[in-house]
Structure formats: C-alpha cells, structure tokens
C-alpha cells in the first residue's frame, strides 16, 4: 500500500524525470535544427561538423564517451572523425563481408557481437578495449551504402537505453548518416566543379606559351592537378627516329632509368617502329607497350599490368595528343591518382574523358609552341645567313692583280645556303705570288667565320715569313709544309671536330715559272699543257684537309707534302671547288672531272676570264632545273 505522501514524492520524481526527458528532447531538436540549417547552407564538411554531431548525440543520450567512425570504401578502412575523449588512431581495416554484416545490423552490442564481426573485433582489440567509448555500435548507412559507425560508450547511470532513447538514437544516427552522405556528395560536386573550372582555365593559359619547353612543363602540371595525379609526363613523337621522346616529367626524380630503356642524350625514348603496325598489341602489355599502343591506336588507355618501371609511378593512364589536322603528336601520361587519405586509386571512365578533353587542348598548345619556335628559328637562320653572306662576300677579291707574263681570273658563284668557298691571289712582299683556293666544311655563319680565320691566318703567314727563300726550291716546299702545319693548328683550335677546310695553295715564281704547290685535301687542279696533255696537280700528294686533326696526329695519318712543276708558255691551270665537279643534273649525274677536262682542252685560244665564264656556263647548262646547294668557285691561271 502506498501512502499519499509517497505517491506525491513518486509523482514529483516522475514529473522531474519527464521534464528532464523533455529538456533533453528540446535540446536535441534545437541542435538538430541548427545542424540541418548548417547542412543546407553549404557548410557541410563532415570533418568539421562531426564533433558537433557527436556532442549532441552524447549529450542527448547522456553517454559520457563515444566516437564517429567514417568508412572509406575505396580502400576499405574506418577512420575516427570525432571522439570523446579525443583519441589518435590510424586507419582501421575492415573486410567487405564485415561491412555487409554491419549493414544488416541495426545495433551491435560489443560484448555480444554477431559471429561475422568477431574476427574484426579481435583484430582491433587494442583499439576497442583500450577505452570506454565502444559499448554499442550503430551502423551509419543510407539505403545500402555503409557510411560508418556511431559508437557509444557505457550509459550514465543505467545498463541500457530506454525504448524512447533507442528511437532517438536511431534518428540521430540517421541524421549523422545524412550529414556524411551530404558532405561527401558536396565534396564530389566541389571536386568536379574544380576540375571543370580548371579544364576551362588551363586552355587559354597553356595556349599562350610560346616556348615548347614551357608548354610541355605546363601541360604536364595542369594534367597532374586536373586528374588528382601525383606524376605526369609528356612524350612527343620524333618522326625521324620513329620514337617517343620524353619532353617533361613530374616530379623529375620519378624518372627511373632502367637497363631496358633506351636513352639518348639523357632523354628517355621509346621506339615505336611503324605507326601503322599493330603487331605489338598483347593481352597484358607492359607500360612501354601500352604507351606505344596509345600512339598507334589514338585512344586513351590505362596500364593494366602494373609493371610500371617506366616512371617509377604506378597506375598509369595515357592519352594521345593530336595536332590540328588529327595527326598524333605524342602522348600525355598521368599516374598515381590519389584520394583523400593518401592512398592510390584507379582512374575512372570520367578521368579518361577528362584526360581526352585536356589532351585536345594540349595538342593545340604544343603545336602552337613548336610552330612559333620553328618560325623564330627560321628567322634567326635567315638573319644569320645574310650576315654570313656579307662576311663571305667581303673575303672574296673583287679584282685580281696582274701577274707579269700570266693571265689570272677568278669566279665565285653563291648558290643556296652560305658555304665557305674562298680564293685569292696575293702578291708576296719577298717577290712571287700566292694563289689560294679553299672550301670550308659546313654552312652558314660558322663556315663563314672559319673561312675568315683561314684567310687571316694565310695572309699573316704570307706577309711574315713565307716566300723568303724563293730561290731555294727545296726549302720553299718545306716553307709551305710549315705553313700548312700552322694553318692546321689555327683551324683546329678555332673550330669543332666537324669544321675543317680543303685548301690548295700555289707559290708562283714568275721569273723562273716554277710553281710550288701544297694540297690539303682539295680537288686537284687541272693543268692543260700547251700540247693538250692533261695533268691533275697535287693528285699524288694530297694531304689531309686542314683543321681536321691536331698537329701531332697529322704525320701519323697523312702528312702534308708539297711538289714543284715548271710552267711553259700556253700552259693553263684550272683551280676549282667541288661546286663545279659535284654539280648534279636532273638525272642525278655529276658534272665530274671528265667534263671539266674535256672543256679545258677546248680553251687554248681564249683568255683566263673567258675560260672562267665558259666553265661556269657549261656547269649551269649541265645543272638545268636541278637544285644546287653548293657554291661554285673557279681560279684560272695561264702562262702567256
């Protein structure tokens, strides 16, 4: 029997309990409303709001400790989003069947878990037993998508939750699930928005770059950021060598130079062979084969083999880069796609589409930059050629001096790019005359400068010492050999390995009619004797071109030699460069020495100037419409 007083006390207690419940519900509803507004307003990042959700849940249900664990489906792990008290923990791995079990369970009491979760709880016993926050788990889910776990510690002052508290817990868990899903969805939308903005922004940015290296670098940077990748590379086709050549890789230290790769000038290259040959396709291609196939097939692909020794990265995806006319210029590679949390993910179909779109813009940008560079190079080359031409023309004498008892004439005809032909006839201070003809290797400014060096060296030699011993015939030969050695040394230190000159020098003593000649790898001049006999001068003693080897190596290969002949009245000497004998006609035939010889035999009754004109006309007639790229130089000497 209960007394009236006791009834009142009990009644007051019940009222107090009901009031407290109402207070807790009001608190909970008010906080939930605030969170709902936060969610709608776009401030939805669960990493930020998780602590508030946990605080409301624990406060409403009067539970002193608990945690919210978020599930990451890409890598199958749980992470602690919020906890009371705060704890530091690493990723908690969870198997797919354990996730399935949690999806089917409305609540999990940790002291009596379902069989399928026992292994998980054992594996993570250190984490779960080390604190008081894991007493009851509420799986967080939206329909069939598992999102995480709301974990509650022991309840304050009671062994279990009241029925209405359990219902409230279900509502709170659902709210938390909505917040996680909303946050992830918002993050996905933000991410896609960002990538689309980047795609739109990157096009004008990379298309403004006019240097191919800058364009390559920016294309790789933008692709890496656009695809959430951690590595990227640009390889372009080098059509001449039929290979893909690395233009830029990010980060540079990723480049792995294994033995199975071919490298040229420290650049990674991959041979591609015939672009139409599809024979390299295999079921499980290596990363190199995959890249070659992307170029050959013209479509984006991913490396399924994961044997990515090429850049040291993993999970590669490559897309072809096309020029305006649809030609494949090369490919763009990205790898190591990352997801939040630091793990590597596979590229998706959307990623492939994004790379395709970006590669189209990249193709235009790269083509623009290369065209700009080519135009600049062409302009620079043209300016250099004009300068070189001026230098060369200044070195060729306008007129030749009169040599008593002799006729002398020269002809220089520039054809095509600037070459390095030279001829001269110099009166020597010590008496006598020096006749020189030379052909410097190469074209353009370098050839013109090398020729200028040769001429300066020759003039220096002739005005200083050479020719002093003109009456001692044997010594004159040595003088010329010494001069050749001096000029050889001068040109060798002036030029590169590829820069040298063929050179023929003649010392003429008009009083004795003795010619002392030196041939340094030049075309032997033609002598047409007064009786019609033909002699090729210096043919037997042709030494090395000057400047090709250092002086100490010259005697070991082919030392310079000089020879002497005596001219008679009517004898004719025709000096020439290979622009004469190597002129080709439209049938690809050479003008050659034989035609020159035949023509020389017909020149007995005409003077040196006319002989030059005759030979020049003959060569030009022979050439016809064929292209010619070498200068033509003639020097003719006749003893009256």
């Amino acid at each position: 029997m209960i007394s009236l007083g006791e009834n009142k006390e009990q009644s007051d207690m019940h009222l107090s309990s009901a009031e407290e419940t109402i207070q807790r519900l009001l608190f909970s509803l008010s906080e939930l409303e605030q969170l709902g507004q936060t969610l709608i307003s776009g401030h939805s990042n669960f990493n930020v709001s998780s602590k508030t959700y946990l605080r409301i849940t624990l406060g409403t249900l009067q539970v002193p400790s608990g945690a919210i664990l978020c599930y990451h489906s890409t890598d199958n792990y749980l992470s602690v989003a919020a906890s009371t008290p705060e704890i530091e923990t690493n990723q908690i791995e969870i198997e797919p069947d354990e996730v399935s079990c949690l999806l089917e369970s409305p609540l999990v009491e940790l002291h009596s878990p379902p069989e399928d979760l026992q292994d998980f709880i054992e594996r993570n016993s250190n984490f779960l037993n080390g604190n008081e926050m894991h007493h009851l788990w509420v799986p967080l889910k939206i329909q069939d998508e598992f999102l995480g776990i709301l974990s509650l510690g022991k309840f304050l002052g009671r062994a279990k939750l009241e029925a209405w508290e359990q219902e409230l817990l279900t509502i709170l868990a659902h709210q938390i699930s909505i917040a996680i899903a909303y946050s992830r969805n918002e993050e996905r939308i933000q991410s896609e928005k960002f990538r689309l903005f980047m795609l739109a922004e990157s096009a004008p940015q990379i298309c403004q770059l006019l240097q191919p290296d800058d364009a390559a670098e920016q294309v790789v940077f933008q692709a890496v950021a656009l695809l959430d990748a951690n590595m990227g590379a640009l390889m372009l086709i080098e059509p001449q060598h039929k290979h893909l050549e690395l233009q830029y890789v990010f980060p540079p230290e990723l480049l792995n130079t294994g033995d199975d790769q071919q490298e040229t000038d420290n650049k990674l290259v991959i041979p591609i062979g015939d672009i139409d040959d599809k024979s390299t396709e295999t079921e499980t291609p290596t990363s190199e084969e995959m890249l070659v196939n992307v170029v050959k097939n013209g479509r984006t692909d991913q490396c399924v083999s994961k044997l990515d020794t090429l850049f040291g990265g993993s999970n590669l995806m490559a897309g072809p880069i096309q020029g305006r006319d649809g030609d494949i210029l090369g490919l763009l590679v990205v790898g190591d796609k990352e997801v939040r949390g630091g793990s590597v993910a596979e590229f998706t179909f959307e990623d492939e589409t994004l790379l395709d779109s970006f590669a189209k813009q990249a193709g235009v940008a790269i083509e623009n930059a290369h065209l700009h560079q080519e135009a600049l190079d062409a302009r620079l080359l043209q300016a250099e050629m004009e300068e070189a031409r001026k230098i060369q023309e200044n070195l060729i004498p306008d007129t030749l001096p009169d040599i008593p008892g002799y006729e002398v004439a020269g002809h220089y005809e520039p054809r095509g790019p600037v070459g390095g032909d030279y001829f001269d006839c110099i009166e020597l201070k010590a008496g006598g005359w020096g006749l020189a003809i030379a052909d410097v290797s190469g074209k353009g400014m370098q050839a013109a400068l090398l020729m200028a060096t040769l001429r300066a060296g020759l003039l220096s030699e002739l005005t200083s010492a050479r020719g002093r011993e003109e009456d001692k015939l044997v010594d004159m030969k040595n003088e010329l050999i010494d001069m050749a050695m001096t000029l050889n040394s001068l040109l060798y230190v002036s030029g590169t390995e590829e820069k040298y000159a063929t050179f023929f020098y003649t010392h003429l003593n008009p009083e004795t009619d003795i010619l002392t000649t030196l041939n340094c790898g030049h075309n032997p001049p033609l002598i047409v004797k007064n009786d019609g006999d033909i002699v090729w001068l210096g043919e037997e003693v042709g030494g090395l071109p000057i400047g090709m080897f250092p002086n100490d190596m010259v005697p070991l290969i082919a030392k310079f030699e000089a020879e002497q002949i005596k001219l008679e009245s009517g004898d004719l000497i025709i000096y020439y460069t290979d622009g004469v004998t190597e002129t080709v006609n439209i049938d690809d035939e050479f003008y050659d020495e034989e035609r020159l010889e035949q023509l020389g035999k017909t020149c007995s009754d005409i003077d040196a100037s006319q002989i030059c004109e005759l030979i020049y006309k003959s060569v030009m007639d022979f050439q016809g419409d064929a292209d010619q790229f070498d200068d033509l130089t003639l020097l003719v000497l006749r003893k009256k």
Partner: protein
Amino acid sequence: MANKFDIQIRAEHEYAVLETAGYLNDSLGERLSKEAQELIEKGYTQLVINLDKTALINSIGISILIEIIEALDERDGTLNFCGLSATQERTFRMMAIAKYAGIFPDEKAAIADF
C-alpha cells in the same frame, strides 16, 4: 617546379600565416589542415594562407582549403588567401571560395584586412 613540400608557419599575437610550398595535394593538404587545426585549437581565428610558392592545387587540396574555411567559420574566424596566381584566383572566385575567404595580392594586405 620542384615538388618540395613545405609549410612555414609564422604565428603572431593575433594572427598566423601558413605559407605552403609545392603541389597542394592530399599529402601537403593534410599537413596544412593539421597545422591550421592546431592553430585554431590554440585560439587563432585569423589565418592567412600564402600560396605564392604553390603553383599547383588539385581537387583534394581545394576540398581541404574549404574544410579550413569551415573550421574557422565555426569559430567566427577569418581566413585570407594571398600569393595566388591569376588562374588560381579565377578558380577560387568561380568556386565561390572568395565568398567565405578573402583574397589578397600579398601577405601584408591579407594581414591588414584583419
């Protein structure tokens, strides 16, 4: 661009500057987030993020920046950005980040705004 990740922090009396260097991806972003959270926990509600040495930002980096904005917003704090490239600034404006955070040309201007 070298891929050297780094974060320099200059905490003054009323504000703190976080200066990043390198690709703002998950790795650098998580470090930035952790440093920012620690500053917020210490009571800093006025932060500057200087991106002058960060030429590249991916979508994960952006989401982390948004997270920092929201974390500061919860404490009625302010985040100002500076050192953005023209492209980054346009992207930030298009992403509406500029609605919730200030964008300034340099650190001095970003700090002066507080």
